[in-house]
């Protein structure tokens, strides 16, 4: 069942370290990618503090909070999957990954419900903005940033769902062992990263 080691690696441990480092470099570029939007949020919030505060109170804080709990729990299952593979419980690890995947789907369903609600209220980005309650320039900026930030995040969640499905399939096939599980580790890192971004989006868009 053991894969062959690629010729550039001296050992399995070195291969795992290279994969991890490569993933950290990739995630660092992702931090910069999202960072642009966070900086835009900071600048416009500084310019329109009252408008941002008012507009964020029109977001559905209950769905936002529920989604935070859903993603954190999903992350826990991915962390447990790694732990279970390390203790040679591949079938339990598969179950944990499937549960993480299902919670990711729940997140997307909640997000879809929220988007539908915003569409009904005219809380749409850019030129599509047609709210009867919010009229200020700052509110339009907030709503546009809300769609950009959550939209880019939802795209990452969607990619993450495919990553989780792949790792669950690999775990079910008995591909991972305590010695060789770098693919699961970096796939899990991607899912946790998506969680970390949401941890910052949640207070900025729903709470303050």
């Amino acid at each position: 069942m053991e894969r062959e080691l690629a010729p550039q690696f001296a050992s399995v441990e070195q291969e795992a370290r290279a994969w991890q480092f490569g993933m950290w470099v990739f995630l660092s570029t992702e931090v910069l990618f999202f960072g642009g939007l966070f900086i835009a949020y900071g600048v416009y919030r500084f310019a329109y503090p009252q408008d941002f505060h008012l507009a964020s109170s029109h977001m559905n804080v209950w769905l936002g909070t529920a989604n935070t709990l859903v993603l954190l729990t999903s992350s826990l299952f991915v962390a447990l999957a790694l732990h279970l593979v390390r203790h040679e419980r591949s079938m339990w690890a598969t179950l944990a990954l499937v549960l993480a995947l299902l919670l990711g789907v729940v997140f997307m369903v909640f997000k879809g419900l929220e988007y539908a609600e915003h569409a009904r209220e005219g809380l749409l980005p850019g030129v599509y903005f047609a709210s009867h309650k919010l009229h200020s320039v700052g509110a339009l900026q907030f709503v546009t940033l809300y769609w950009l930030m959550t939209g880019l995040h939802a795209l990452h969640v969607t990619i993450g769902l495919f990553v989780l499905a792949w790792t669950a399939f690999q775990a079910a096939s008995g591909f991972y062992s305590p010695r060789r599980m770098a693919g699961l580790e970096i796939g899990g890192m991607y899912w946790h990263f998506v969680d970390v971004i949401w941890v910052f989006l949640y207070p900025l868009l729903y709470l303050v």
Binding site: S28, L32, G35, I39, G42, L76, P203, Y206
Partner: protein, 102 residues
Amino acid sequence: MLKYVLIWVALIGLTVTTFLLSRVPTGDWSIAIALAIAAAKATLIVLFFMELAKHRGASALALGTSLVFIAVVLTLALFDVGLRFEPTRPPGPLVQTLKVGQ
């Protein structure tokens, strides 16, 4: 196994805390408090779920570099919009609403 569950409990606890704190008026401090709690949650996830605490080599350096970059750009951008004086203010809705230092 217990370790991961305890971290999850801490994450849920911090989420409930930030939600409840958003319901009480904390004025200008609200965004600082919310971001401090978010940073604490992110640190727990990065160190223990993403296992950065265990990863050797330059991994932490790669992540740290991107975070420092974001901090520098955000700080300079806020100084720029916050400290413009009259002749350097371009026309438009953004700077008209600023009225900083007046």
